[in-house]
Symmetry: C2
Subunit: 351 residues, 2 copies
């Protein structure tokens, strides 16, 4: 049984590595499943490392950025070809030299796309305190995407009851939460997504007031005008490009745009041009970029606010769960082309 | 003598009217000097209007926006073809039905491009309290551009001592002041402008640490890298387009962009695309549009802070003064093509 693995045991370690840096749209074949050296399930004497058994891995859009080589310093380090992909995940501690983590603890944070990971700087891991909640949620609702939604909406958007809120990529790991936070605050909320199934989810499951399938709209400006006859106070930006241009036309004076991501641009050789920025001046808009890292110090505040919502059924969360590390490359590529419905999770092991 | 004009006298009134709405780059011939009806230098009995003798008129980039027809509500009203251009100016009160203004007062605010203007909502005018300062300064340093520079720099940019500041259109009515405010705060300040004469002014007269002529730079990114080897904390945006794209490449994490105007875009049929907005996300930038109108309520705060700087010689101001209302169209067109050196003012009368 997996949970009877002995400390110090030698195990083969399946990994997903990046083969080469990627230009344009990544393919599954840019990654490879390898089974390399065996790993001893023990940290070295005197080390502060932890040895993790990975359970759930998170596929997130920002990972696309790490698949390309950057000449200049980037906000996240580039992946290293030949080495395992790294990303957020949920894991169980098999051995620990660090006083904050003990054998048997569950943690979430940055780990490797492999069965077992040796984490040499475990300060970046969060110990999971509440294991009544599905552990996979710590890749999404209660992990990095959750902090992103919470900080982006409550801290960056300065929302007020009754305001109008637009969320793009609204059924994704972050968007579905932003929409629900906004509804809980008493806002009017509209989401866009890339399939009718997702649109249905937004309206039926997450309680968005309106939603549309952007792929079926000939004119995004017209779609936004239809949903927001009085304009948009808050835009939670996940996609960029053409959608941002249409949103700028429809923002109200003193509107706020929380720039979380621009997934429509990640696989283009040259990003599209955005033409309507003059509305930032004339409507006195604020566009503010942010990421979860800057807000991890308020993780506890987020957790205290969100867990009761989950337990009272006021927030729901949809995951797209793929079984098996060998299916992780397809899951990541699927995420980048919008095939996932809800938060994309890969199960490496359940316990 | 002009200052002996009798209240109630009938006078001819020279005006500058807009002939037709403008597309593309405006020409002098889009405006016309007319001498229409005579005007009686008196406000109607019981009215709260004031009758102004215009002294100095202000040419400002935002006026380009008003020369075109907008189908949707705009942040400033469109000009009306056949009617005088309106804009900021300095004037003397010849008659008044309003308790806040008396005959002989000097005021600044929105007036007409004509010799005499009847202002029916004088609440929008500011009474000039300090006439030791050149009156023309109330079109610039102590008028709308001054409030713009003050609010944009101190309120929008959240500046800190030692930060690096870039100002485009830096020798203009607003830019020259922003640079001086930033130097007074202990920032490192670089400006761009469109001629060597202006660049010289920035360095020799306004104390910018560095300046460059953007028309002579083959690569704006390289110019910015040369001036800001460690990157830009604050960008005071007056031009938009290609410059904004280059700036985004050079912003530091958590940088701020005060979006005041985008003059490079005003005469294009379709604005240029800005391609580097993903840096807003990765560098967690804030881009915030603003205008002086929203900050007129803190005019007194601005005035109290700025006047001592002027009187102590800590702030200097360069005006480009054109004599005669008949030269106002050429002055405005000159401003839109960057021919002015410093704040563009038109003298209608000196007293």
């Amino acid at each position: 049984m997996a949970n009877n693995i002995g400390v110090g045991e030698l195990k083969p370690n399946k990994k997903v590595i990046l083969k080469n840096y990627v230009n344009g749209f990544p393919k599954e074949s840019d990654m490879e499943i390898v089974r390399t050296e065996t790993v001893r399930l023990k940290v070295a004497e005197g080390s502060k490392a932890v040895l993790l058994k990975n359970l759930y891995l998170s596929c997130d859009p920002y990972m696309r950025n790490r698949m390309s080589k950057h000449e200049e310093a980037n906000y996240v380090p580039d992946f290293v070809p030949g080495s395992p992909i790294s990303g957020f995940g949920v894991a169980k501690v098999l051995d620990s030299g660090h006083p904050d983590f003990k054998v048997g603890d569950y943690v979430w944070g940055i780990t490797g796309w492999e069965e077992y990971s040796l984490v040499t700087s475990p300060e970046t891991l969060f110990k999971i305190k509440d294991t009544d909640i599905p552990l996979s949620y710590y890749t999404g609702l209660l992990g990095m995407p959750g902090v992103t939604a919470y900080a982006g909406f409550y801290k960056v958007c300065s929302p007020k009851k009754g305001e109008t809120v637009f969320v793009s990529a609204a059924s994704g790991a972050v968007g579905q939460l932003v929409g629900q936070f906004a509804k809980l605050m008493g806002c009017y909320v509209v989401g866009s997504a890339g399939s009718d199934e997702k649109v249905n989810l937004l309206k039926k499951k997450f309680g968005f007031d309106e939603a549309f399938n952007y792929k079926k709209e000939k004119d995004l400006n017209a779609a936004l005008k239809r949903c927001f006859p009085e304009g948009i106070d808050i835009y939670f930006e996940n996609v960029g490009g053409e959608m941002l241009d249409a949103v700028l036309l429809n923002m109200r004076n003193h509107g706020r745009i929380a720039a979380c991501g621009m997934i429509s641009q990640y696989n283009l050789d040259k990003p599209e041009g955005v033409h309507n920025l003059m509305f930032v001046v004339t409507k006195r808009l604020r566009i503010e970029g942010f990421n979860a890292y800057d807000y991890f110090p308020i993780y506890d505040q987020f957790f205290q606010k969100t867990v009761p919502y989950i337990k009272e059924g006021k927030i729901t969360y949809v995951e797209d769960v793929v079984e098996g590390l060998e299916n992780a490359p397809a899951a990541l590529i699927g995420l980048l082309s919008g095939r996932n419905v809800g938060k994309q999770v890969v199960v490496v092991a359940r316990e």
